[in-house]
Symmetry: C2
């Protein structure tokens, strides 16, 4: 997040969900709350550092809720708030678009 004012809602939304991982995390939490380790395993390729960093940001955005269980070994569960859920819903058509055009997108030459 870098800006303070936006030209349009899309601008603002992309700012919130932008980056490499946030959409994936949102998606992973859509079905059910997950623990840190579970999330890590669910999202292939993400490092612990990025996962926490993104989760923390999304927490401050009010998109996810962090629930700590005082146990040993520790257990922390992440879940979507209503706000996060509404964003996920708004992202559905985009996800479908991506799904539908996946092959085209993958075929785009890079560099």
């Amino acid at each position: 997040m870098k800006k303070r004012s936006y030209n349009c809602g899309l601008d603002a939304a992309v700012d919130v969900v932008g980056g490499k991982w946030k959409a994936l995390i949102l998606w992973a939490l859509h079905r059910e709350p997950l623990r840190f380790g579970e999330l890590k395993r669910a999202i292939s390729g993400i490092s612990e550092k990025m996962l926490i960093q993104q989760l923390r940001e999304m927490e401050t955005y009010g998109l996810v809720h962090r629930e700590v269980y005082h146990q040993v070994p520790p257990k922390v569960e992440y879940s979507l708030t209503e706000f996060g859920d509404s964003l996920n819903t708004a992202l559905l058509p985009l996800g479908e678009w991506g799904e539908k055009h996946m092959e085209t997108i993958e075929a785009i030459p890079r560099d």
Copy 2:
């Protein structure tokens, strides 16, 4: 665009529309084709370099069409392809979400 394979459609879509400017450009072209200079004026804050860079990428993605008129001074018009238009449509709910929650988003503390 960096990846070749995606976990889900959302992942792929965010890759296509990611970055600071693409969504804005898509949006600006939604109403009507625009010339380079018009786009530049329409999207406040964008530099010429970024504008062209993004336009070129979006052209290779097949999202926008570039039409050159051989005149002096030169005239180049950019418009959305059907593909670009379909992406724009898929982005509408996200734009509405951003619009609706704009104040919340702007109020999020940064750094």
